[in-house]
Symmetry: C2
Subunit: 224 residues, 2 copies
């Protein structure tokens, strides 16, 4: 039966995509790419691995057609092949979090949520409403590089490292909301905590850029 071979081939090809999501390093790269495009070197630096290693992993992702590239001079910029890839990754994260106690525990340990931190959350819909009314100070606390690669329209880039300096100017600002990479990212948590310590009342977008992009919402690139 030649048909069994063809069926096997279908699953083999499918597994290529599955395998691409089957390495912690590659998932880290996908998470970074969900923030916007980056060069190989920048990815390697951000994910803390050698350039060769990063390149190899990126080839795996490319073979699975999950990422696309753009050449600019000697640099090669990688990006997710589409919003559907971000959506798939977000869905996988959601299932993992829902199903696996291990993931939940690892996440809690990383995000260091004592429970009381969970006040002051803003949903995507509410945020869009606030953005429409203009009565909001939306802070993008990711590294500037990621802000430039794509951010929520109306956001202001205030990387975590510079946030302490800006805290004074934010005192009394209307409706301060911080966001970062996504629901697995600790930066917005830190930002809200830091601002609270400085006497600035701030809230946090309940997830972040990854989910914003997954939802197909508008993303602004470049601009300072």
């Amino acid at each position: 039966m030649d048909r069994d071979d063809r069926r096997s081939r279908v699953f083999d090809e499918l597994a290529v995509v599955g395998k691409a999501f089957g390495s912690a390093k590659r998932l880290e790269l996908v998470e970074l790419l969900a923030q916007g495009e980056r060069t190989v070197e920048a990815l390697a630096r951000a994910a803390d691995m050698g350039v060769s290693t990063a390149s190899a992993h990126l080839q795996v992702l490319k073979l699975a057609n999950l990422v696309a590239t753009r050449r600019e001079g000697t640099k090669v910029h990688y990006r997710l092949a589409g919003d559907d890839v971000a959506r798939l990754y977000a869905a996988m994260r959601a299932v993992a979090r829902e199903r696996s106690a291990d993931v939940g525990r690892a996440l809690d340990a990383y995000l260091n949520i004592p429970g009381s931190d969970e006040v002051g959350l803003v949903g995507r819909d509410e945020l869009q409403g606030l953005l429409g009314s203009g009565a909001i100070t939306l802070l993008d606390v990711r590294p500037r590089e990621e802000f430039l690669a794509g951010h929520i329209p109306g956001a202001r880039s205030v990387p975590l490292g510079t946030l302490a300096d800006e805290a004074g100017g934010l005192r009394g600002a209307p409706s301060v909301v911080a966001y970062c990479r996504g629901s697995f990212c600790v930066m917005a948590h830190d930002a809200v905590r830091l601002l609270g310590g400085e006497g600035v009342e701030a809230r946090r977008l309940e997830d972040g850029m990854l989910e914003w992009r997954s939802a197909g919402l508008p993303v602004l690139e470049g601009v300072a």
Copy 2:
């Protein structure tokens, strides 16, 4: 920095779920489990692998909390841990098909679609409408085992092997619609082709049980 360790652990745990989807054999098992629960032995037989091998793969899926088990006497029945798992698998398939030309080609070769086959498709919504009106002959052409493990309410079990015998009785039956496992399954294609050869005009549900389950639609178990 102790925080990097904790972040790594998050991705490590996530990768456990990704890895689970990273083997053709396991994907085949997931596809079967999306049809309904099955024993280890039945899964091994259906996916054409040794019992030890099947068990090992099932342990991987279980470790990722993607499947659950139920013991009945000496038998252990495996099932998907929830509809969200079916949804994730369906999403992965959709992305793979959309993004990867290889997947598309492998699928076309397997399903053997010359293009003209794509007449007579019925969507899920239309099918639900027909089911409500009662003016329909819905055929479940999967193996009886899978029908018993869960089928669309109102369907009649007519496994492919017995379809030729039933064809006569279907001549002139109202609105014959066949379905099988899902959009990666060839059985409903074959059924429509076979019925057409017997002079019975039949249509095909555009996908199948996997997508039906993913959508959270009602599934009937047992019953003959």
